[in-house]
Symmetry: C2
Subunit: 244 residues, 2 copies
DNA sequence: TCGGGAATGTGGTCAGACCACCATGACGGT
DNA sequence: ACCGTCATGGTGGTCTGACCACATTCCCGA
C-alpha cells in the first residue's frame, strides 16, 4: 500500500505512530474495531510480529484493547483508560519521589475536595458517609483501607473532573497506599485519621470549599510529613517487600 | 527454572509482571543491563516473540530501554522516564477533556510557581528572564511558543519537585500546546500573554509566593476559560486536523 | 422451533532464520 | 610502542510460517 513513508526509526515505532495518528485524525473512532493483525501488518507493509509489538505498545498505553478471538478495538479513550499507566509510576517510585508524589496528591486532592464541597449532591454525600461510617465501624486494616480509598474516591468523583479523578486514582492505587499506609498506621494514627476524615465530611456537608480544601490538605499533609521524616531518617526505599 | 508460576493470564502479561516485580524488589537496579532477550525468554520458559512483547510494553512505560546491538537496560526510573507517556493523554484528548487537563495544569502550575517564588535562585531567575525577553523580542509564532514553553519549564524546574515537573511537561507538550495555542493566539492574546508573563516574573523576583500563585492561576485560567467557551459554543473536538 | 456442535475467524504463542547495529580486540602500518 | 582499521562475535530488530486457544457464527438435527 502506501510505501510513501520512508525510513524513520524502527519499523514498529513507525507503526505505533501511524495508528496513533489514525486515531488523532479521527479515522478511528472510540470503540471501533480495527482490521485484523494480519491485515494491518499487510497494509503497513510490515510483518505480523512487528505489528503485534505496536499493538502491544498501544494496549499498554490504554489506547487499544485486544480481545482474544474477537478482535482489536479502540478504547473509549476516557481519562481512566489513558491514565491507567499512572499507577505504575506510584508502584515503582521510592524514597524522595514518594514524597513528591504525595505532594502532588495533596495539591490535587485538596482542590478536588474543595470543588466537591461546592458541587456535591445529597446522593453523593450519602455515598461518602456510607464509607466513612463503615471505616469507623471496623478494626480490620484491610477493610479500613478499602473504605478509606472509597471515601476519597467518592469525594473526588463529586468534584466532576474525570481527568483529575483518574490521576488521583493512580496516586492512591491499592499497592501504593498499602505500602505507605502500613507504616503510617502502625504509629497509632487511626484516631487522627478519623478526626481528619470527620472534618472533611463536615466541610462537605456544609458546602464550605475553603474548609474542605484546608481539611484535605492537612489530611494528606500529615502522611506526607510523616513519610518525609521516614525518608530523611533512614534512607527508606519502600520497595515491594517480599514478606517471608 | 522457576516453573512454579501456574497459568494466570497471557504468557506475555505474566512476563511483564515478573520483570516489573524484579525491579520492584530491587533485584534489578536502575541502569543495570538485563540478560539478552533470548536468555530472558529461556529463563521464563516462553518464546522470544512473547518476551519481546513484554519488553516492548515495559519500554513504552519508560521502565526499560532497548539499545540496538548493545542490550536492554533498566532506566534510571526517574520521574521523567516514567511519566513520558503522560504526553499521549494530552495528544489524544479532545473536547471537554481538554478543559479538564487545563484545569489540572492550572492547579499544579500555580502551586509550582508559588513554590518557585519561594525557592528560586538568581541563576534560575536569570534563565527565566532569558526566555521572557526572547519571547518578547520576536514575532515568529514558532519561536514564541518555544520560549513560552521554556519560560514555564524553567519556573517549574525551580519549584524543586521533579514529579510535578514531569507531569506538567506532559500537559504542556509541544503538540498539546500547539493545538490550543494556535486558536487562542489568533484572537490577539499576545499582549495579554505578555502582561501575564511579566506579572509572574515580578512575583518570582519579589519572592512572593501568593502573588506568583495568583498570577500563574490567572494565566492558565485565561486559556482555560477561552477553551471552555470554544467547546461549549461549537462542539469543538480539536483533533489533529488533516488540513487539506 | 430451538438447542448444540461444527466451522470459521481472531488474537496468542512458538520456532527458526536472517539482518542491522554495536562493542571488542586482533592486526598491521606508522 | 602507538594508534587507527577492520574483522568478528554478540545483541536487538525483523520476517516467515506454523500451530494453539478462544469467540462468534451458523447450520443441522432433534
Amino acid at each position: 500500500m502506501d510505501e510513501s513513508v520512508p525510513q524513520k526509526g524502527t519499523v514498529t515505532q513507525r507503526a505505533i505512530e501511524q495508528i496513533k495518528a489514525m486515531i488523532g485524525e479521527g479515522r478511528l473512532e472510540p470503540g471501533q474495531r480495527l482490521p485484523t493483525e494480519r491485515d494491518l501488518a499487510t497494509q503497513l507493509g510490515i510483518s505480523r510480529s512487528s505489528m503485534r509489538e505496536a499493538i502491544r505498545a498501544l494496549t499498554v498505553l490504554g489506547v487499544l484493547e485486544a480481545r482474544h478471538g474477537s478482535g482489536i478495538y479502540v478504547t473509549q479513550l476516557e481519562a481512566g483508560d489513558l491514565l491507567e499507566t499512572f499507577g505504575v509510576v506510584a508502584d515503582l517510585s521510592r524514597g524522595p519521589r514518594l514524597v513528591e508524589l504525595l505532594e502532588v496528591r495533596r495539591v490535587l486532592e485538596s482542590t478536588a475536595t474543595a470543588l466537591a464541597a461546592a458541587r456535591i449532591t445529597p446522593e453523593q454525600l450519602a455515598e461518602v458517609e456510607k464509607h466513612l461510617e463503615a471505616m469507623n465501624a471496623t478494626e480490620d486494616p484491610e477493610e479500613i483501607l478499602f473504605h478509606d480509598l472509597a471515601f476519597h474516591r467518592a469525594i473526588v468523583a463529586a468534584a466532576g473532573n474525570e481527568t483529575m479523578a483518574a490521576i488521583l486514582e493512580g496516586l492512591s492505587s491499592r499497592t501504593f497506599r498499602a505500602r505507605v499506609w502500613r507504616g503510617y498506621q502502625e504509629e497509632g494514627a487511626f484516631e487522627r485519621t478519623r478526626r481528619e476524615h470527620a472534618r472533611i465530611h463536615r466541610a462537605l456537608a456544609d458546602h464550605d470549599p475553603e474548609a474542605a480544601r484546608a481539611a484535605a490538605a492537612a489530611h494528606v499533609g500529615e502522611v506526607e510529613a510523616w513519610l518525609r521524616g521516614q525518608v530523611e531518617e533512614h534512607g527508606w526505599t519502600t520497595t515491594n517487600g517480599t514478606r517471608p
